[in-house]
């Protein structure tokens, strides 16, 4: 099966080619959507095959590189078009193709009747293709194709409704922000490549090669630089501070796209990349600290914004940013496995949430459309009580919400708890650990709060819709609800593959299958930590205690949400009017966009204007034209010497003679 790994990205690419070139002619939505979905499903099937084969091998053999052809070779630099199979990429392939297939399926229903249906599916397939390339690439360059490819596709899909200026802007913003990250990625790549090459004659960008020579990677120093550069790349792709602002704006795209971006593809790239390079990161405590702090800060920061948003998708968007913060917190604590675990569970419940919100929006859109209302179908203030009309959506949504809130038994609990524990117990950051844990726990509480706020505002209470609209509100069709159900099931159960040791033992020896599965990927890091004497805290009591605390915090969040939005819905308004400035700041996302505009965008434009009108035209071109003008002016003056009078001519001759003779006589 391994030999056919190249089929995984190939299927969606075929989908792209077919739909891209002939989609317009095909016209039939079922065919277009079918081709696109089948392509991803095909990849999923291959991915499953690969996973099973992988599982059938012993741990140390779970590594395979398939080289298709040499892509770039120049001097010592060589990049193959090659695919890497190991537990990490297999897992990612599963997530991407699995969740991706569901989203494709869902899209057939959701995008029904949209203009440019074929275009949408082309992009969607392209997106999947890029992401698959990203997670299966055997070297940084192939990864970078996917890395930039997802950026491109986000641009295309966010800007899908291109006639809307805001959509175009958001797409551009996403791409540019990503490019800032890519800048970091490239610099990191160059530094690592050059350092390893010139000092150790290891000229490679290949992950396998690099891992083989991981011992040569120094501790700290240049490694920190490399890590931070790559991390800049990760912040761009995974929407971390300071490059997170594109993600909420990305809600301009169709909802399934948001699901795809937020759940299955794109934003997870940064987490994947750092995990892939765990043997580099483990060598730089400084970089780990930065990653952890940025992650924690993002988790908290985005969560605060999430509490004040009214747009259903925006809440989810900030929730994504926040959850990604968790993942980075885990990575920064050296718990790469935990980060990826949360990535996976997050993919399940976040996809479910987004698709669920899509289902809501879809229904709301139709309802509002029926009464010709121009009200925003995404604004939760227009919803309420939807559980009665949309039971499946509600139920699945609720399960996913419980999962994200971290209620024990559901997927989110296992992953989040692991992260919080690692934040507390990791051997890297010393006293900072407690701060990291505290921030994480607070964010967890906030998460529970705003997610349940969302659920309560949307599905509970009385509807705020008009009679007529309410009448037109319907549950979504099966193509939409089926993926919801699948994802809800995964959200509920997916966490059980990674039961923490303490819990597992308490429950009668449940194994932590996930940890075992990931071992080969993290082998070097584990080994390194062991030899370097980096041991985390081991205390079952503490682990139980923290687990309890985090569950408690989550429950508090839910309780507060219930109190504020179900029991006494007047309190939020009162709160808002009591602290208007705070609310406005939170509502306006702490004015980060404005600050960026002020700091970067506007100065750049002004500088561009100045350089063009002020410098290029006036100075540079001025000098060029000035030289010409001086010559012409000089010419205009000099021609007046030619007076036309014989006397003057004779004078000039005599003068010439006198000067010449004088020069020779008197020197």
């Amino acid at each position: 099966m391994f030999e056919y790994v190249w089929l995984i990205p190939l299927f969606p690419l075929i989908g792209v080619v077919i739909n891209g070139l002939f989609g317009k002619k095909i016209k039939n939505e079922a065919v277009i959507g079918g081709i696109a979905t089948l392509a991803v499903v095909g990849s999923f099937v291959v991915a499953c095959g690969i996973l099973f084969q992988l599982l059938s091998l012993p741990g140390e053999e779970r590594h395979f590189v398939k080289t298709v052809f040499t892509w770039i070779q120049c001097g010592p630099f060589k990049a193959d078009m090659a695919f890497l199979i190991d537990p990490l990429s297999a897992l990612m392939l599963m997530v991407v193709t699995g969740v991706g297939s569901l989203i494709h399926l869902y899209s057939i229903g959701y995008m029904h009747g949209e203009e440019g249906f074929y275009r949408y599916f082309t992009y969607l397939n392209l997106f999947t293709f890029s992401m698959l390339l990203l997670v299966s690439g055997a070297n940084m360059l192939v990864m970078f194709i996917g890395w930039e490819g997802v950026g491109l596709c986000s641009y295309l899909l966010i800007g899908y409704y291109f006639h809307k200026k805001s959509a175009g802007d958001a797409g551009k913003k996403a791409f540019v922000m990503n490019r800032v990250g890519d800048f970091g990625f490239l610099l990191g790549l160059f530094t690592l490549f050059y350092y390893m090459g010139v000092n150790h004659n290891v000229w490679t960008v290949d992950f396998t090669e690099l891992a083989k020579h991981a011992d040569l990677i120094p501790v700290g120093g240049v490694t920190t630089v490399v890590c931070l550069c790559f991390f800049l790349g990760a912040t761009g792709k995974s929407a971390q501070i300071p490059l997170y602002t594109w993600l909420p704006d990305a809600m301009e795209g169709p909802t399934p796209v948001s699901a795809l971006i937020h759940a299955a593809t794109m934003v997870t790239a940064g987490v994947y990349m750092i995990t892939r390079m765990n043997y580099v990161y483990i060598k730089s405590p400084t970089a780990l600290l930065v990653v952890a702090c940025v992650g924690a800060a993002t988790a908290l920061f985005a969560a605060t914004i999430g509490t004040a948003q009214n747009d259903i998708k925006r809440v989810l968007a900030y929730s994504t940013v926040s959850q990604l913060g968790y993942m980075f917190l885990a990575l920064g604590c050296g718990a790469f496995g935990a980060g990826v675990f949360h990535l996976m569970t997050h993919a399940f419940f976040k996809a479910c949430l987004f698709l669920g919100s899509g289902s809501v929006i879809h229904a709301m859109h139709h309802a509002l459309h029926a009464e010709h209302s121009s009200a925003d179908p995404q604004d939760m203030r227009n919803m309420g009580g939807l559980r009665k009309k949309m039971p499946i959506t509600f139920l699945t949504f609720l399960i996913a919400t419980i999962a994200i809130a971290g209620i024990p038994g559901f997927a989110g609990f296992f992953s989040k708890d692991e992260i919080l524990w690692q934040a507390y117990a990791n051997p890297f950051h010393g006293p900072v650990n407690f701060v990291l844990w505290a921030v994480g726990a607070t964010a967890a509480g906030l998460t529970a709060f705003y997610m349940f706020r969302l659920v309560f505002m949307t599905f509970f209470g009385e509807t705020r819709l008009s009679e007529k609209a309410w009448h037109h509100l319907h549950e979504s069709p099966i193509v939409i609800t089926l993926p919801l159900m699948v994802l809800a099931a995964l959200s509920a159960l997916g966490g059980w593959i990674g039961v923490p040791k303490v819990l597992g033992e308490a429950l009668g020896g449940l194994p932590n299958m996930y940890e075992h599965y990931m071992e080969p990927v993290l082998a070097y890091s584990t080994e390194y930590m062991h030899t370097a004497g980096l041991h985390g805290l081991h205390s079952e009591a503490a682990e139980w205690g923290l687990m309890g605390v985090s569950v408690l915090i989550a429950c508090c969040g839910i309780a507060v949400a219930a109190a504020l939005y179900v029991v006494k819905p007047t309190i939020p308004a009162a709160f808002t009017s009591t602290f208007p400035a705070l609310h406005r700041a939170v509502y306006n996302k702490w004015y980060v966009d404005e600050i960026y505009d002020f700091l970067f965008v506007n100065p750049c434009k002004a500088l561009g204007q100045f350089l063009w009108k002020g410098f290029d035209v006036v100075v540079v071109d001025g000098i060029v034209n000035g030289v010409a003008a001086v010559f012409r002016g000089f010419s205009g003056i000099l021609r007046h010497v030619q007076t036309g009078f014989v006397h003057n001519y004779a004078y000039s001759m005599v003068l010439g003679v006198v000067v010449i003779v004088a020069c020779y006589l008197f020197r």
Binding site: G20, K24, F69, T70, W71, I72, Q73, C74, G75, P76, F77, L141, F144, I145, W147, E148, G149, L152, G159, F162, H163, K165, A167, G168, D169, G171, K172, F175, V176, R179, D182, F183, L186, L187, F190, Y194, G197, V198, N199, H200, N201, P218, V219, G220, G221, V222, T224, S284, P285, T286, C604, K605, G608, Q609, L611, W612, D616, V620, D621, V624
Partner: protein, 562 residues
Amino acid sequence: MSQLPLLSILTFLPLIGAILLLFMPKNSHGAIRGLALAVSAVTFVASIPLITGFNPTGGFQFVENVPWIAAGPFQMSYHLGMDGISLWLIILTTFIMPIAILSTWTAVEEKVKEYMICLLLLEVGMIGSFVALDLFLFYIYWEVMLIPMYFIIGIWGGKNRIYAAVKFFIYTMVGSLLMLVALIALYFKAGAGDFSILRFYELNLDPVTQTWMFLAFALAFAIKVPMFPLHTWLPDAHTEAPTAGSVILAAVLLKMGTYGYVRFAIPLFPDAQAKFMPLIATLSVIGIVYASLVAMVQQDVKKLVAYSSVAHLGFVMMGIFALNQQGVAGGMLQMLNHGVSTGALFLIVGFIYERRHTRMISDFGGLAKQMPIFATIFMIVTFSSIGLPGTNGFVGEFLVLLGAFESSMRPWAIIATSGVILSAVYMLWMFQRVMFGELSNPKNQNLKDLNAREIAIMIPLVVLIFVMGVYPRPFLDTMAPSIDNMIAQAKKKQAVAMNVPAGMINPHAGIPGAPPITMPAPAGEAAPAAQAAPAVPTAANPHAGIPGAPPIEAPAAAPENK
């Protein structure tokens, strides 16, 4: 080696075409266009054997060497040849010509005959410049190119065409005349013989001479490239030129400058290259950032693309001056990429200009709705220009930056890398304003999508964009030996220059001027060894290391190790 004088045939086929055109009736436009297209197409086909018959050894091939002028001290030869460096540039030229001719099939309605003659003559000059191995011959072709381009801009150009044409001509002329002086001086330094570049490669010039000659050559080439701050003729020329003119200007003419550096300025004056590297690197980086910023605020699409050219060529220059495999190969590849992508961009601008007779960004908006095919192609080209992996732009840019990073240009390379952000900003912003948004301007309501001819023009370019992006090996592999030769040669001379004083101080150290001590490839050697001998490059093994670049130190390693 008796074979067809392929390079001569290539060079003069267009000339024959131009002469044939002279005898065509003035008003049979269709026939004139057809003939011109046929001639350029035949030229392209005739250039294919260059690829198939190419032997990637690094030496010159398809060589023709016939004594031409022999008078007094001078011997000029009709000396043609081609290696991996020029191969693809020749192909690019012959490839882009039919496209350029097709592109103005309908746009140029007046003086068609003269127009086509100019285009074909231009091709003569361009191919000639790339194949000439005799510096004198090169100079002649170099200058000859100016004339048709001058007329193309001046006769078929836009409003401000006269200014642009004259500026183009005189600006280029100033530089090339100074180069002529240096060229003659070089010839006299070389002693009796011909003007063959191969002979000049063997010279060992003293650093002062090199400095001056390099400056003269570099100025001529820098104007052509164009490098900041000598770039202002380019936006004017591009904006005013008709589409085909812009396409050729961008795709081929600008490459003359960078090609000049690779073929002449650097291998001839390697010490000066080392000396001026910081200056060139600085100018390139300024060019990249500056042109990007200026491009960002342009209101005219064509001007924007023109400024983007300046930025792209800045990358090329960085790569070339990095003087290592990745850099130079990246630079060369980037030259081709720029030819394809920017050529395509100019074609695209031409398409909308033909339809709307305006190029102001503000006049457009929402075209994607009206012209979906156009939008798709435009987008692909835009992303190629931005350098998205998978398209051609990426490979070149990446290698350039990698190469620059490995050379002593590292600090500059870091700033240059920021160019990837800026290029995304200005290209996407332009694309968004032109293609996205509401189709608000009523004049745009009835725009027609691309017709078959226009699609036919774009398809080869789009295909190339992907082919070069996904499988650049054929290009890189054919170039590599020649580039290795060039670098080895330059580095050898640099090393000699460095060794001579040492030899004079300690006569026992070795014979002064002897080739540098060759070092076996330090495969798997420990770091200190590699650092201690900072890569004396050898002709035998240019892969050995990236010379001249101090390795990155890891100062913080010790404290953190504890």
